[in-house]
Assembly symmetry: C2
Amino acid sequence: MSESSFLAACAGKSAAHIPVWYMRQAGRCLPEYRVLKEHYDILTLARTPELATRVTLMPVHRFGVDAAILFADIMLPLIGMGVDLDIVESVGPVIADPIRNAKSVEKIRSLDPADFEYLRKTIVMIRTELAGKLPLIGFSGAPFTLASYLIEGKPSRNFIKTKQLMYGDRDVWNKLMEKLTDAVIEYLQLQLDAGVDAIQLFDSWVGCLSKEDYVEYVLPYTRRLFTAVSKRGIPRIHFGTNTAAFLEEFASVDCEVVGVDWRLPLEDAWERIGAGKAIQGNLDPVMLLGDFDIVKKKVDDIFSHLPRKQGFVFNLGHGVLPDTPYANLIKLTEYVHGK
Amino acid sequence: MSESSFLAACAGKSAAHIPVWYMRQAGRCLPEYRVLKEHYDILTLARTPELATRVTLMPVHRFGVDAAILFADIMLPLIGMGVDLDIVESVGPVIADPIRNAKSVEKIRSLDPADFEYLRKTIVMIRTELAGKLPLIGFSGAPFTLASYLIEGKPSRNFIKTKQLMYGDRDVWNKLMEKLTDAVIEYLQLQLDAGVDAIQLFDSWVGCLSKEDYVEYVLPYTRRLFTAVSKRGIPRIHFGTNTAAFLEEFASVDCEVVGVDWRLPLEDAWERIGAGKAIQGNLDPVMLLGDFDIVKKKVDDIFSHLPRKQGFVFNLGHGVLPDTPYANLIKLTEYVHGK
């Protein structure tokens, strides 16, 4: 693993080539995944070690990426906390009993690592398959993003209910965020214990907040979380979309890599993050739905403004879209490797 | 009108008090509006001068705001361009035949001011009622935001189809943006001719783009548009949400006022816009769903960081949410006026 270009870049060091992986690289864009999905629902796939291992490795074989990412659903820690939820096809996670008040927060139990034996097994199995040739990234949703699902009850556009609770009942908000932070720490710790080589925290929806509210209602929890999951040699990636209003604060947690979306030019984002940290991003995933020539132009553009290659992990600005022609991801990996 | 605090602030001058108005101030938060909506659909309300006048004036009477804004639907110019659409309750605008290619762009006709006689009459009627005591703001959706509705066919979260067309067929994109820019110019010009005292361009969804793409695919059109609707003494407001990644560029058009959402602190946004322009914003509308004490604290916070009062128009960061208790808007107006 000492030769992993991904781990080198996360540590801000030179690598043989720019490392590439894609958020949601294992998923609907792959025909072999779609075949599996005809027989199993997503939670079964994620909670059956043999299946989760197979899905995790699919993009490794197909795309030639420089890291595998654990196939798991962002909702898994919540299931471990006793939340009754379902992943509804073409809707997303739907919570049976959304969080509304102190009572509903109390009902959420703390996360017991013993319930995640399947995840431990999956990680061990994947690492055996990878045989030290590629690193495995573990991950979790961030407390705010998990809270937003719990409160909205389903995917949201404006996060109105989340903010209403946040502004309206500070005490309930704090209790919920405390519980989620503790749970995410446990959840990432068990992945670290099982042997993942890096971890990423997805705060996908935090960009709906103002800078002041991010600092007041979210950052203290994320800060505590990152400090708690520190493990020698294991890079921690903090990913969010729409973070242009508070990127300095977002990047200020104890992490090695900051993941950004396409909105800010990569060089501007890196300047704001600080040269001491690595950066991951940031092609708009929509570009991959179209002609590869346009993708190439955009990648050229990213590289032409790049202040340095050390510490750069190439990725998209958000997850691979289900309708992406997978051939574009093969070409993209090759093209970035040639840079 | 020479004493209008709103017009003074737009011109960067001192006013008797900080002017206040609210985007979507005439709408579902008002019981008297909801009564009307039981009898008329939104397009009938918007296209019947007596009714549109009545609705425009409702918030003026209720809230004590410093400006009226024409009650109209963002889709009106598109109807004038021959687009078949419907405003579906609790969904939004739905386009019968979304734009997909050159042929569908060709079918869109240019806007004929003669089709907007109802709008001219409405503006004259409102101004008669206002009797020079308050200014009337005219408005339009911006070319990008209108294009996004036309292409997506319905309200969207990720604007995937819009970007696909933008990246995938530059020629069709340019033709569509040209047509929309021409139409919006005509549409705002007829409002200016009818006597509105200010205009606002809503580029509500442009924040889904990267800075480079904003500059390449949108800004040239908005720039041309603002220059074309210049009229002595009539301030032009450029409003967008989620513009933190490219605020300097967004503010660089020939306008007097820039409207911002809550994501950036107002003082940071103003610094990036430049002291030569007025600023409008930026309370998160979600705050108004809750207790007024929390609203007060946030307003205090905005004012405590304000570099100067001249050139500040108080508003929300986006439209009033339908479930807002209107009493909060009355209190908010009073509270800001007391600052």
